[in-house]
Symmetry: D2
Subunit: 406 residues, 4 copies
């Protein structure tokens, strides 16, 4: 039996799947808020790797504050142009000078590495955006403390102390609506966009379920140079609607309605046409931590953490680690223990205590009708305990880019 | 009977007050995230008033993206100094040129007004911070569309259309823990600070209730020039602890533990001493919408909206309006209808539809044991309906500064 | 006899006073380029004093790169407004961390001190400009080398080495036209403005002499809130013209024509009306070293140095020191030695050599008709030698603000 | 006979070639000030071409204020790195919205075009500098007036009016020292660098002639990744010295001494090693108009204009046009008229008057001993007149990039 403070209780509220109304949202990878999340996280990974490569340990940093100020564009069928660039400011702090115990002095090019990571991320995510003219990226990284932050070195052995009193919350399994919203965005920004280059990465999906009917509202930024006129645009919208409808049907037996770019007004020519594929080109600002939670969704039916997961250092920033770990725990429990209809776990840290020893790990279980909590409680406890013990795996997986943060 | 789509259902989950573990947090007004919220909202109000004064109507704007990059300070007993200034960037868009129907052309000084509002807010909130040397405020407000955004003019008659598909959520009543957390911050930053100038405005309260025991963890930035040494600092910490303990006792019969500045290490001299009263002076960045929800709290036990309320225009930005309105509805219902132990209402907008006609207004009621929902359902429905009809009051109250947004 | 390499030669070119055409310009203290010069120099002095106060010696810095990006204003009789703020960026480098030989570590608040100096200078020079809303000042001071730069400590004994191969050039006496241009600006921005608050500090004087006729062209920014209409504006212009005409008459017997705000077009309402008294409010950018030379004038009839004098550190930055010193030498020579109609001295440094030992000090003398150079050569040599020996006085006088740099 | 006000006078001062001491300097194309000049001029040309392409005429703009704040680098033999990026801010104003007489409305992407021009220029000039990570370029171009500025359209017929009272000055021929300094930089940054990639573009040449001895001091930034150690560095320095010595010998019979990187201290390892080939990477800021005059040189022996030539619009900005035109006139006169040892021409504009009608064109001639001014005066007058008549050629040549501005 573990000495960790793990509580498991049955809740008799209805599983989210069984509630009457459910709302789910996902901001696609090209949405201004998601761009900030993605840049912040990519910068964070680049800094972690810089420190590991040079110093052998991750030094103090936090880069969870990227601000995007929208540009101005003049989209036009056949190809428009960005008129005023998007401005992105990387904010945070990072250790720039470090003296190791053996007296070795390091000068770490954190600004250049951060800028490079931002550029690479943008190139991959919004390829139509020309770096340096369509978007200007600047950097304000303050000097970190220079204290050796961590023992997450080559061996990864020791467990760091929590840097704050914070908490994380995770859920599993996804409801049908959640899964559809998530998969829709990933499909559109994946295989669909590969075949349909007119679809930009700024895709936003709002799912609403009332009883057994699901409405999906899709806002999809179309890229002007792939469309030669209004008919082509209408075809592109219709094609997205069809693709989403088909995809949704494969995930649910409920009835599904799909709307794409509902705010369009063809007569006024007010359509969702962009030059770069993101609304950041024209009027939509963005920042970190304002969009998707760490499981990729915004789920007002469920408790959520306000903590921005993206961009924080993954070694001892407890807000980041516990959000990711709680999701991992929830998924593991539901995957391994049968009979669970809804599972939520909350991890509360205590500042200064090892992060594998949360102040409390609170699990809430909605069992299937024919299952008693007592039958599965021990299994759940064991999995929670196991995953807590492996908390540093979260750090490693984040640094290696294997964990979603938004 | 109203034609609004109002649903009321009884939920048999436990009221938050009755749940086993409850977590509540409030970032005080001097916290970097709260500073951004407050600046953004003050800028928003200033722009609304500018437009009303000059044009008679509120034109298009959104200023919900303020970014704060922390400075660098060298606090010292008796008075230290800021070494590198805090940098604050006001981001958003606002109409700068406008031609009225009668041909009158307006040039609106939105940048200057925004900067002025930010300066005034900082002067009031963090008086130790010297504007222009301890903090630099810059502005990037893009040109808004210039379309007449609103009919919220002198008469305020018409009801605008929703600008987006979004939702808001409100709760009432506050639990004991929530009330204590909220009141503690307001007391510390109000009467207490008036008498104890060494207490800075960056006060963060974390409340955790397990069963009938409440733990309050207070992080309180002390101002160096009012403290002549370590003993004075210790006294200041002890004084806060005592004040909070006394205050909490007046709100609850539960046992309460209070910790203040738990991360202090007197031997190392690692204490929470600041020159300006905010951690933004040294390493803590901030941005809008990352802290308190519109009821002033972060409440992971309750559904929350991710929408940043502060800084958005209050005329037709539905994310802002519905968050504020749902809280107002919840408070009115609980105030006027007896027998409710926990009440939550969720408003879902539909883009292009009048904002007093939400797609759905969902109320969830936990009644007292001796009350049936059917007895009070009609009363609740009437209040929800009444408040929805009065939705433009929210706009007015926001512009007049009568509504909390963080 | 000194061992300094001093050369004195007679030149038979005509003195500038005797040339047929002469052009002289002065940008007043409120001109955007002069504002940058003034800010840069005030920041420099503030940093020198900071280092002297804290460390006892001046550490490495250079702040000779201030950039001003103009704002946008809507001036109007009776009082207009700034619409978009002027943006000023302080650029340079300064030592922020310093460890003295005795191990004492200093953290120097160079950013805050620089911002404070800029603010104070603007408040004094352009009082109508509201800091923080009409003008935003930001700072990018890189970290200096941290090497002990100087021995200009409390005693000021030793002579530093030149940091570069550079040169300075000085002239005396001023011609009538030069004197009139200089005095006109100083009078307008001094006693005249005290009595006539409608005159802003952005006054530009262009003097052109052809034979014995001098034309003065004055561009004078008028401040809107002191003028209630076009007649008042015309009166203000006429008043300046009259004052300048009177002043010029007291300096010369030549005929003088004065034009004020010649580009005005009263019918179109295109007049030189401002809200703040500087054209930086609307469209005129500025930077350091683009305006007046260190004697306060732009004199295309005379050799000039391209070196920006303002903002450079006055301890070993030879470009600054030699420009100031050569002017001082020229003035001393002409003051003490009779019979000189025109005097120019050029100092050329050699990197790494003591600054009181220039590679060459070249003096060019136009004597009065009845004076032979041989009669006064020894006197000149002695004065040049004496002033070179006292070179560190220049440093002290600059730090104390007793020397004009633009 | 022309009705232009052209004055020609003989001066009996010595030609610069015959003066005892002569100082000449050229900042190479990779020097921070020259980078700013070059970027500003390239941005200017790009905007001129944008306006001509889209609107058919050049609209109002000025981009003569680029500011460079130096970065921070860690050069190392074999290849170092930039630690903090260089920051370049493009400042100026340009017309962004324009409505033609026929009602056509234009939105001009001036920000994007400016950024693109800056990027291209940097890529060509400092290829080692990685755009976006080693250097961040941001832009603050205010909105220009939108008035049609010019009639320099497809036909180029009409002559614009002077926008200011300003003057330009040109000289010919170059002295030996001037030619050597100019040619040395061009050779080093041309054929020499092609064969010797270790030589960066930041080459500064200071020439000093005393009587018949010329000293050339070269500061040459070496690029680390082409040098594997100190011996290679020494060889590179020696190679530059040899090449410059050989080149100089082909231009003069005077004795020539050459010093390269005189401030190096091999023992301390203090050498002029860079990662990118420009000192902007580490501590050397730059701005427009602080370096070379429009003939490519800094010549304190000659009258110079303070006017920044680079970045100004070439249609009616008289400061730019007259500096370029006066040089062109001087070169034409000396080229076509035999017997001139030194020629200087000064053009003074009058605001509001056609630019081919200067207030005065003043020519100063030093003839060869056997030539009387009266013999060649008519020829000179005719050439000055002819070139003034062709003033709009300057505009065209600038836009086409055929004229040097720094």
């Amino acid at each position: 039996m573990s000495d960790r403070n793990i509580r498991i209780e049955s809740v008799d509220r209805r599983a989210v799947e069984d509630q009457e109304v459910e709302i789910v949202e996902r901001k696609g990878i090209g949405h201004p808020d998601s761009l900030c999340d993605g840049i912040a996280e990519n910068v964070s990974r680049a800094l972690s790797n810089l420190y590991l490569d040079r110093v052998g340990e991750v030094l103090h940093y936090n880069t969870d504050e990227t601000q995007l100020a929208a540009g101005n564009a003049a989209p036009a069928f056949g190809g428009g142009e960005v008129v005023e660039p998007i401005y992105i400011l990387l904010v945070g702090r990072a250790t720039k000078q470090y003296e190791a115990d053996d007296g070795t002095e390091y000068t770490l090019p954190v600004d250049s590495v951060a800028l490079s990571a931002a550029r690479d991320y943008l190139a991959e995510t919004v390829p139509e955006l020309e770096f340096g003219t369509d978007v200007v990226v600047d950097v304000r990284l303050g000097e970190g403390s220079g204290d050796l932050q961590t023992v997450f070195g080559e061996d990864g052995a020791a467990v760091p102390m929590a840097n704050d009193t914070s908490f994380g919350v995770g859920h599993a399994p996804l409801t049908e609506t959640e899964r559809i919203v998530l998969e829709t965005e990933e499909y559109l920004n994946g295989p669909y966009a590969d075949d349909n280059p007119e679809l930009g990465p700024d895709v936003k999906i709002m799912g609403k379920r009332e009883g057994d009917h699901i409405d999906l509202t899709v806002a999809a930024a179309m890229i002007d140079r792939y469309l030669d006129g209004m008919e082509a645009y209408k075809d592109a919208v219709a094609s997205v609607r069809e693709a989403v409808t088909d995809l949704a049907a494969s995930y649910t037996d409920r009835s599904v309605g799909v709307e794409v770019n509902t705010a369009d007004d063809y007569e006024d020519g007010a359509i969702y046409l962009t030059t770069t594929g993101t609304s950041a080109e024209q009027g939509d600002d963005g920042s970190v931590g304002r969009g998707n939670r760490s499981n990729g969704l915004i789920t007002p039916n469920r408790p959520m953490s306000m903590e921005a997961t993206s961009g924080k250092n993954p070694v001892n920033h407890i807000g980041k680690i516990y959000n990711l770990l709680s999701t991992r725990i929830a998924e593991a429990v539901v995957d391994e223990v049968p009979g669970i209809r809804d599972f939520r776990v909350r991890l509360l840290s205590q500042i200064g205590r090892p992060i594998d020893q949360p102040h409390v790990a609170d699990a809430f279980v909605v069992t299937d009708d024919d299952v008693a909590l007592s039958d599965i409680e021990a299994d759940i406890d064991a999995i929670v305990d196991r995953e807590l013990a492996a908390v540093t795996d979260v750090t490693r997986d984040v640094i290696e880019g294997d964990l979603r943060t938004f």
